[in-house]
Structures are given as C-alpha cells and as structure tokens.
C-alpha cells in the first residue's frame, strides 16, 4: 500500500515537472498596470481629472466674460439676459470697491471658486 502511494506520488511529480503554469493572455500586465495607474490618478491626482478642467474652464470663462462686460457696454448685454444680470451685479459691486480692495475681491472670488471646484472634483473621484 505504501509502495503504491509512493508510486502515485512519483508519477505526479514527473507529470507536473513537465508542465508549467498556464500562461496569461497577452497584455495581462499592461492591463493591470493601466488599471492601477487609472485608479491612482482618480484617487490621488484629481488635477488630471477632465471633469475638473471642464468646470474650471467654465468658471474662468464666466469670470472673464463678466469682467469684460463690466468694462464695455456691449450689445451682448441685451441679448444674453444671464450674462447681463451677472455683469450688472458685478459692475455695481465693483463700483463700490477701490483699486486695492478690488484686487482682493478678485483673488477671493477665484480662490473660493477653485475651492468649490476641487471639493466637488474630489467627491466625484472618490465615489
């Protein structure tokens, strides 16, 4: 009985010796690394997040447009009611501010906007 057991053991040792582990399909490592780098980007590097850039670009365009509209009374004011109201409110606010305080106001506005963008982006990317 013990002889049979050893015989069986030897047979399998020989059999498996001639066999290697199954090879992974092509591109296995690349896929793993891509997934890892992707998840890492989402987790730790939200700067690269497209959604964030989209929101940031929209906010800066709005700031720029409203600033531009306060400088020049363009015909756009009449055609785009949203921008008109934004421009008039910005204008009335700015008219009450001196040169120095205007600078701080703009810095503050941009800072708060960026904070909300980053915060929103982090929540989205961690979800």
């Amino acid at each position: 009985m013990k002889e049979d057991k050893n015989k069986e053991k030897d047979l399998f040792e020989d059999l498996f010796r001639n066999t290697t582990a199954e090879s992974t399909p092509a591109g296995f490592t690349e896929n793993v690394m891509k997934e890892i780098n992707g998840s890492e980007e989402m987790e730790y590097n939200p700067i690269m997040n497209q959604r964030k850039w989209g929101i940031a670009a929209s906010v800066f365009i709005l700031i720029g447009l409203s600033g531009w509209l306060t400088q020049s009374q363009s015909s756009m004011e009449e055609t785009i009611p949203f921008l008109e109201s934004l421009a008039s409110s910005t204008k009335s606010l700015m008219s009450n501010l001196s040169g120095e305080s205007l600078k701080y106001f703009l810095f503050g506005f941009i800072g708060i906007s960026l904070y909300f963008i980053m915060d929103k982006t982090l929540i989205v990317s961690r979800r």
Partner: protein, 190 residues
C-alpha cells in the same frame, strides 16, 4: 528573484513607486492566473479575476505586513476572488465518487511515460479540469509551485492536516481520472 526581492519591491510600491509593482505582476501572473483557472475553468473569467486580484492587492498593499510571503498573500486574494465568483455563477458539475480507493493494476505510469510532454500536459489538464476546484488547486500548488502544505493552508484557508488529507484524496481522484481518460482514448483508437 527571491522573497527578499519581493519585500524590496513591496516597499517600493508602498513608497509610491507604482512601476515597481510591474515586477511583481510579471513574476506571479502565471500562477495567479492558473489558480483562477483551476477554480473557474474559464479562461476569460480567470483572466478577469486574476487582474482584479492584482489590482486589489495593489490597493491593499499597505495592509501587507510581511508575515507571509507576498506570493502567498496574493494567491489568497486570487483564491478568495475566484471562489466568490464561482459561487455566484456555479455551473452544473459532476462530482466524482469520493470512495475511490482502488489503485489500478495496469501501468498508468508506463502509458504516461511513453507520451510526449505535450500529450502529458494535455491529459493532465483535462483530468485536472474534471476534479473539484479545491482538489485541482491543491494539486497545482503542491506539485507545480512546490508550495508546502502550510503555505497551501494559508492560501486556501484550510488547516495543514486538512490540506494533507485533501491532497491525498485529490491524488487518488486525479489518478482515477487519468485512467478513465486513457482508457477512453484507447477505445477510440481501437
């Protein structure tokens, strides 16, 4: 590359060097894939599970404290993922009689030794596929990866003595399956 190198690469990954993980993936991908394949018996599922296991291991790498080998830790993650998947979509399988005790008098060894390495691999693969997932995995880890019964226990969550018993039974079943296969092959030739 030995286990000391593994620790070095794990530390590198922990420090944020993601590229170091590629070395570990390349080193262990084949056996992780084989483990998943033995359990799931589908190449597509095995690939997906093995990839997920590597990604999971990466995200949890801070919890790896080096008490076991990195490979053992990784294979356990792979094993658990594959088992969960197989339980979710368990196909109808035929169970092999547990009471196989008789050993063949005919020379299975001779028959197998006369075969080419490719044929041996083919028949071994078919016979392993017919076994229960854990039996097939234990045999693979024991013979193919030369894992000690203790390591196999860590991977599968079984006790050392349980692994030994299962290994003994699995050997019997594999022997029986190989016999059946070769017999039916012989019949088709006649």
């Amino acid at each position: 590359m030995n286990t000391c190198d593994d620790i070095y690469y794990v530390e590198q990954v922990k420090k944020g060097n993601t590229a170091a993980y590629e070395v570990l993936v390349n080193k262990y991908k084949d056996l992780a894939y084989t483990i998943a394949l033995r359990i799931l018996k589908s190449k597509e599922d095995a690939e997906e599970i093995a990839q997920d296991a590597f990604v999971n291991a990466f995200t949890k790498i801070d919890t790896f404290n080096g008490e076991s080998k990195f490979s053992t830790w990784l294979y356990r993650i792979t094993f658990n993922a594959a088992i969960s998947r197989s339980r979710k979509f368990k196909p109808d399988t035929m169970t092999i009689n547990e009471e196989i005790t008789e050993l063949p008098e005919s020379g299975l060894d001779n028959q197998l030794h006369k075969m080419s390495a490719d044929d041996q691999k083919k028949y071994l693969g078919i016979a392993l596929e017919k076994l229960d997932e854990t039996d097939s995995l234990i045999l693979t880890l024991y013979y193919l990866n030369q894992e000690k019964t203790e390591e196999i226990g860590h991977i599968t969550g079984l006790s050392k003595s349980n692994v030994k018993v299962k290994l003994h039974r699995a050997r019997k079943k594999l022997y029986h399956e190989l016999q059946l296969l070769l017999k039916s092959e012989l019949k088709t030739l006649i």
